[in-house]
């Protein structure tokens, strides 16, 4: 539920697996049995979490194989039995999917929204953080922070509802405009401007929260750099260009990679909530396609195939984006090792 960036730390640690030396508990060549006798309570502690993930994460992940089935829930008494008796049809679902224009429409919509938000969403938290960082008064800084972090804790239902109440046909804006004697603009239901709408909603909800990482990076910049640059005659803009932005560089690259790796994820609830209002053409993204194909229309296999397609492309994107980062000399999400 927290934005992706902080994940960065651990996969890197996981990659350290390859490098051997981890110094912590001294390992005096204990036998397996001795280690088990020493560590069994720790293993036991991991067990509940592992079981939960097994049942609700890994089993469904494996369950994606129904993408290769003509899955029919009615051939068995429960999903497992139905799975066992359903017919395997190879890539049939994928063939259907790739010939289906609605599927490609949803892919195009998803990618357009990602591209649009890279330009109109991504830079905003960075700019906000730089702006806030330049404010001297700690009181104003913490006041602004407390306020703008808040919407991150609101649900999408609430955010969309608030937008509806402020900008919708019966909302505050329409009410004011109507009282002034004009026709209110159509904001919540206009498919042509839907991309602006979803991006503003995303900004309202998460732009403030997105600052945290950048504020941390800004705080880590050595102030003596600024002092030295100022002594050498660099003005505030040159200092921003030559010190602040380079200081943010690795965080920006990291988040950019994560965003690219996540290109097919533009959020699900936000779109499922507004699909009815603006219509399928504008609001059908891959995730809503999976839902409507798979669960609403009950073409389970096709829906699962679309989901699997998304997952596989997603993994390729992450790996590719990470390669790109290494090429730029950045650390990326996981190190090469």
């Amino acid at each position: 539920m927290v934005s992706a960036p902080p994940i960065a730390a651990e996969p890197r640690a996981a990659a350290k697996k390859a490098k051997k030396k981890v110094k912590a508990v001294p390992r005096r060549q204990l036998s397996f049995g001795q280690r088990l006798r020493r560590d069994w309570p720790l293993l036991l502690m991991c067990l509940p979490a592992m079981l939960l993930l097994l049942v609700f994460h890994y089993v469904p992940a494996l369950g994606n194989v129904i993408a290769f089935q003509d899955y029919n829930p009615f051939v068995g008494d429960d999903p497992l039995e139905a799975f066992l008796y359903s017919e395997w049809i190879g890539f049939g679902n994928f063939e259907y999917l790739f010939k289906n224009p609605a599927f490609w429409d949803s892919v195009v919509t998803t990618l357009s929204i990602t591209a649009f938000q890279l330009v109109f969403y991504f830079p905003i938290p960075i700019l906000l953080a730089i702006l806030l960082n330049s404010i001297m008064s700690p009181r104003i800084r913490s006041l602004v922070q407390s306020v703008v972090y808040l919407p991150h804790f609101f649900s999408w239902v609430l955010v969309v509802s608030l937008f509806q109440m402020m900008l919708g046909g019966a909302g505050l804006l329409a009410q004011t405009v109507r009282q002034a004697g004009y026709t209110p603009p159509e904001i919540m239901t206009n498919p042509d401007t839907f991309m602006f709408l979803v991006t503003s909603q995303a900004l309202w909800k998460d732009a403030g929260w997105g600052m945290i990482v950048f504020l941390a990076a800004l705080a880590a910049i050595d102030t003596s750099l600024y002092e030295a640059a100022a002594a050498d005659g660099a003005g505030r803009w040159r200092r921003m260009w030559h010190i602040t932005l380079p200081g943010l560089r690795s965080v920006i690259v990291l988040l950019l990679i994560l965003r690219l790796g996540d290109a097919l994820n533009v959020g699900f609830e936000q779109f499922v909530l507004q699909r009815e209002m603006v219509g399928r053409e504008a609001a059908e993204v891959l995730d809503t396609y999976v839902y409507y194909q798979g669960i609403a229309v009950q073409q389970w296999g096709v829906g699962a195939a679309a989901g699997l397609f998304k997952a596989v492309i997603g993994i390729l994107l992450i790996v590719g984006a990470n390669k790109l980062a290494h090429r730029f000399g950045e650390q990326g999400i996981y190190s090469k090792s």
């Binding site: 539920m1 902080p6 960065a8 651990e10 890197r12 508990v25 020493r38 720790l42 036991l44 502690m45 991991c46 509940p48 979490a49 592992m50 939960l52 993930l53 609700f56 994460h57 890994y58 469904p60 992940a61 494996l62 369950g63 994606n64 497992l80 330049s134 404010i135 001297m136 008064s137 602004v144 407390s146 703008v148 972090y149 808040l150 804790f153 609101f154 649900s155 999408w156 239902v157 609430l158 969309v160 509806q164 109440m165 505050l172 009410q175 990482v213 941390a216 102030t223 100022a230 909530l273 999976v290 839902y291 798979g294 669960i295 829906g303 699962a304 989901g307 699997l308 997952a311 993994i315």
Partner: protein, 311 residues
Amino acid sequence: MSADTAVRPRRNSLRPAWEEKPTLLGQFGKGTILTVVVAAVLVPLWVVVITSLSSEKTINAAGGYVFLPREFDPTAYVVIFSGGQITDAILVSTVVTIAGTALSLFVTVLAAYGLSRPGTLGHKPILFYFLLTFLIYPGMIPSYLVVTGLGMKDNLLALILPTAISAFNLVVLRAFFMSIPGELYDSARMDGAGELRILTRIVLPLSKAVTAVIGLFYAVGYWNAFFNAILYIDRNDLQPVQRVLQQFILAGQSPSTSGAAIAIPGLGSSVPPSLAIKMAVVVVTIVPALVIYPFVQRHFTKGVIVGAVKG
């Protein structure tokens, strides 16, 4: 609101000597931007709260949403808390949030502690098992089939168990546990303390703040969950608040209330809910976040998130 103070820096001593004096235009621009940003968040919330506390008459006079508080009329809140679908929903969400957060914290703390010492048996593969969840997603349809296959349709467990573990929270907590000096563990072990004892007597007291933030993350997740309810909950009396909010505000349906409440004008079975009642539902969905937030907020930048970023 913050602009006035932003325009005139009150304490010039905060500005380092080498930095040039701020330009008036720059200060004004910054003040304006920050004021607009803060207002964009606060104004909608203000309007919602004020309208929820207004009487039908004031709302009609204003032509809808109310800006300025004229009165304090809690009718809307009395209505939604006096039985019926909204009361049920609040109960359901409260139960799910409390039970879910307790379960999630319990399981996450245990696993984070179990993984906090590299070099123990199975440490690497188990860690990998958790980290792999970042890369491999379950997929909506198989998840749906698994949950319904376990017979959890129309069961509140369906709103808890599938989202009970966040590997991200686990990793953050683990990173914090690992930063606790090893000598503390060692001396406790010398004294003959078992792992569970070390966890409850030494580790947890030292990590109250992180645990609180992780708890907040989980609680917010449960309280805000909406789509799981669409997938798994059909019964009206088991719907969580987010679902009710969606039905009233976005789909424009009217809530069913118990007999006691129907007498109140504006809430007949077929009449759409009055604006004040709608706004009261919105306020109810916001309030938990507003209440917990100040207690936990100061820990956000300290330690938890920043620590996770630095690795």
